[in-house]
């Protein structure tokens, strides 16, 4: 069952020189109790998708098209009040990138979580909110006695756990985690990823995990979408995408990302740099870096088509028509 369905989402940033098409026609669904991984390099639009989903966009950004269907609502069309009432935190919560460093250093952690709860559920008494915070701390593996501490007394991993607890405080159906383990050390990162997997199972929570690191997606998600230049280059079941990558960009990324126990190879790089989304090329955005580029690639942007069951690719190489 799909908890969230996104259809042809387009989010642009207006700057003096025109529109930056950060997200340009992206469609996907998120299953109940499953995790979708959005992977791509900086500037490909991953975070803009996240902020679009709960509409906490920068002031110069706007959703110019598409639908975000959640329950029987279209998030794109809701008013601010409705968003707060129905969606944010209660339906979909977001753990921002680096949010663990954004905790207020002079307010106790417990008060910060209580604030988050009472903001979205004004009827909840302080005592009840505190109890809930204690349960959440247990859930994410922190001793509830630590609630009375300040954020600076927490280690990096604990702060990230506390942020996850805060994101779960109003019982959302979907949690978006933007780069949940960047800036954490390997062992702590593994702990956080394990926590995400446990939460998914225990709470039947849907997750959207955003990362530039393919291995993090492989470790946590059932589905993956590889983004490039504001669009999906390839998406599908995690096994299909990782075991049979069809888009040259996905292949390149996987080649650049060695497994620690994989045979020793020369790493592959993708020459060039990501496209300027202000003046994006007409054809396939990846064409100028693609070693398989054909004349058609520079003229027509390929559609995302299903090449095998639940495996979609946007590449002229795989377009049989």
């Amino acid at each position: 069952m799909l908890t969230l369905k996104v259809e042809d989402l387009r989010t642009y940033y207006k700057i003096q020189r025109g529109y930056v098409k950060a997200v340009d026609g992206v469609s996907f669904g998120v299953e109940k109790g499953q995790a979708l991984g959005l992977v791509g390099e900086s500037g490909c639009g991953k975070t803009t998708i996240a902020t679009s989903l709960i509409r906490v966009l920068a002031s110069n950004a706007m959703i110019v098209g598409g639908h975000i269907l959640f329950k029987d609502l279209d998030i794109v069309k809701l008013t601010e009040a409705e968003l707060k009432e129905e969606v944010r935190w209660k339906g979909i919560s977001l753990v921002f990138q680096g949010a663990m460093n954004a905790m207020n250093p002079v307010i106790k952690v417990s008060d910060q979580i209580i604030e988050a709860i009472q903001l979205h559920e004004p009827n909840v008494e302080k005592q009840e909110a505190l109890e809930r915070a204690g349960k959440l701390f247990q859930l994410v593996g922190i001793d509830p006695s630590r609630l009375e501490h300040y954020a600076f007394e927490f280690s990096g991993g604990m702060r990230q756990r506390a942020m996850i607890a805060m994101a779960l405080s109003c019982n959302p159906e979907i949690m978006i985690a933007d780069e949940p383990s960047t800036a954490l050390d390997v062992i702590v990162q593994a702990q956080v990823l394990q926590l995400l997997r446990q939460l998914k199972e225990r709470l039947n929570l849907s997750l959207i995990i955003i990362s530039h690191d393919l291995s993090i997606i492989a470790e946590t998600c059932e589905r993956a979408a590889v983004m490039y230049g504001g669009k999906f280059a390839e998406t599908g079941d995690i096994y299909a995408v990782f075991k049979n990558p069809l888009h040259p960009y996905t292949q390149g990324l996987l080649g650049a990302f060695p497994g620690v126990k994989a045979p020793k190879t020369r790493l592959i790089s993708i020459p060039g740099s990501p496209p300027d989304l202000l003046n994006a090329p007409v054809g396939c955005k990846f064409a100028e870096r693609c070693k398989f580029a054909m004349p058609i690639c520079r003229d027509f942007d390929p559609d995302l088509i299903e090449v095998e069951k639940d495996h979609w690719v946007a590449c002229h190489l795989h377009n049989k028509k």
């Binding site: 291995s215 492989a218 990324l253 996987l254 650049a256 620690v260 790089s269 740099s273």
Partner: protein, 333 residues
Amino acid sequence: MEEPLLKVNELKKWFPVRTGFVKSMVGGEKLFVKAVDGISFDINAREIYGLAGESGSGKTTTGRLILKLIEPTAGKILFKDKDITNLKPKEFKSYRRKMQIIFQDPYESLNPRMTIGSIISEPLHVQKACKNEREVQEKVAAALDEVQLTPPEEFISRFPHEVSGGQRQRIAVARALVLKPDFIVADEPVSMLDVSIRAEVLNLMVELMEKHNVAFLYVTHDLALARHLCNRLAVMYLGKIMERGYTEDIIYEPMHPYTRALMAAVPVPDPESKRAEVVIKGEIPSPINPPSGCRFHTRCPQYIGDICRITEPKLTNVGKDRYVACHLYSEKT
């Protein structure tokens, strides 16, 4: 056997912790951050030596100590069999020509107001390595060519902000390279770069090593990259080397419980690989008061008793160029 290019012996760096005026008057124990606390290893010519560890393990400090960007507290550094530990800056200047560094963040390590040409030529001017300006320009062009920023004329008069992240890091490599050093410290050279362009910087390092016999100390937190790049590897934890040896041996047969934990924690880009339960709890303790005995004993899943808590294990030879600091492997004491 050939003598190693660089030898590090019992190197230490203790940073004093600043205390308040009153506390310093009252006295009491002086506190130190024991960033590097007695480490030894050697690097051969034509080798990429990996120094891996989590943040706070002292790996970056080690790199800077070797280049004497900071003064060591104790220990010895031998470069080409010459003790350089206590050389005065003036005496050390000629060594700088042979020892260079590539910093982590190419967005901060390049002066935004200097052109790429002047960034790369600066070491030549500082070292007075060229007779005339023409020679400088030739060397700059050759260095740019070496790092595949071609044609060089196109880059010389541009500024760092006009090029991409990967190109910036290659400029940093060119700057390190222009003096034809024998040894370069590469401090997390790709951690700020996007995945698709990492390989171009790393492969460049391999090429330089093969073509010009440059030795590298590759400081990293990423075991997967270390494994694909380094010949030998040392794993650090809280200022100590826990295990060192040939990379292959360490990756396929980690011996120290810490190395094992690290290996188990490295995420694998393969959805089919099995996920081991994370056995290590908590995070790296403070280096101000590191745990007694073995520094890893507070988190070790193979804690064998008081000996771990009380006695510090020595780095013991357990095989061909393989050293482990763990009581599980030490001679019966």
